[in-house]
């Protein structure tokens, strides 16, 4: 029987216009990845400036340039609706690659911030 799995991975953005590439690994017991979400200590900067590329088990989920605002959910969103569903995606080798790009936007002033990728899935029972 499968159990729910949830984990958060941090991406630090230190400079304006920076592209941060990171590879994370989910636990070996994870079978499927069902959804992802972004949260941040500066959601306004992520909303206006962020774009990303996401790859799970060597398969592209979101191409380069995908607006990070589409994966943001504020407290106004019902808790059960916050995760963006990607279907039942096999975890495979468990590797999640994310390329997060910060781009200049005339509506905001840059300050170093942290973007957190939240992964929701299923794992084998202990």
């Amino acid at each position: 029987m499968l159990k729910p799995y949830y984990k958060e991975f941090d991406i630090d953005v230190a400079a304006s216009g920076e592209t941060v590439k990171k590879t994370f690994e989910v636990d070996k017991s994870v079978k499927t990845v069902r959804g992802v979400m972004l949260i941040s200590n500066r959601p306004d900067l992520v909303y206006y400036r962020g774009s990303m590329r996401l790859e799970i088990n060597k398969e592209e989920i979101f191409p380069e340039g995908y607006s990070a605002s589409r994966l943001l959910s504020s407290p106004n969103v019902k808790p059960n609706d916050r995760i963006y569903s990607i279907g039942e995606h096999a975890a495979g080798n468990g590797l999640i690659k994310i390329e997060y790009t910060d781009s200049a936007d005339g509506r905001t002033t840059f300050g170093a911030y942290t973007v957190t990728l939240c992964v929701d899935g299923e794992r084998e029972e202990d």
Binding site: Y47, Y48, P63, G65, S67, N76, V77, G106
Partner: protein
Amino acid sequence: MRTRIIITEQKITKGGEIKLFQIRLPKNCKRIVAVGCDIRVETELHYGGLGEIEESGDEGHVNHGSELQWEILSNPYAGQLVLQSMEKANIFFYDHLWVLKYNDSFGEVQDIESFDAFSIIKKPEPKKVEVPCDTTIINALYRDSLGINEGNVTYFVKVLVWIEYDENVK
């Protein structure tokens, strides 16, 4: 059948600019299932941005004396986007694009008077369409309105097309 996203970005620099471009789909594309649009602004907005509203007398302000004073913010309008298929579906997507939409939600709980565009009330979802694809080109037209009011503003229009493709066909 699997789903993937095709992203095309166009740069707009002149007020009133009309941009004609094409979106190329992969050869194994079977149909288009959804379309979404995003705007990213590079230059500063003089009105309707995150800064203060320019005051013009009492216009836009409702003063109730000692009661709460409400300021009226206009959602800055970017332009219109039209997508056309080369087949029977013809024009299958037509939408107005907004730089910001203040009235999509209320501010966060700790500051009830603030209206923030990123206080998202629900997940943004693409507009669902059903367009079969035998040809792999979509014609697109974008008509700028933001630059007419703001002067020449540099911004990017990002068109996201969700497609279903046959993974057995390379």
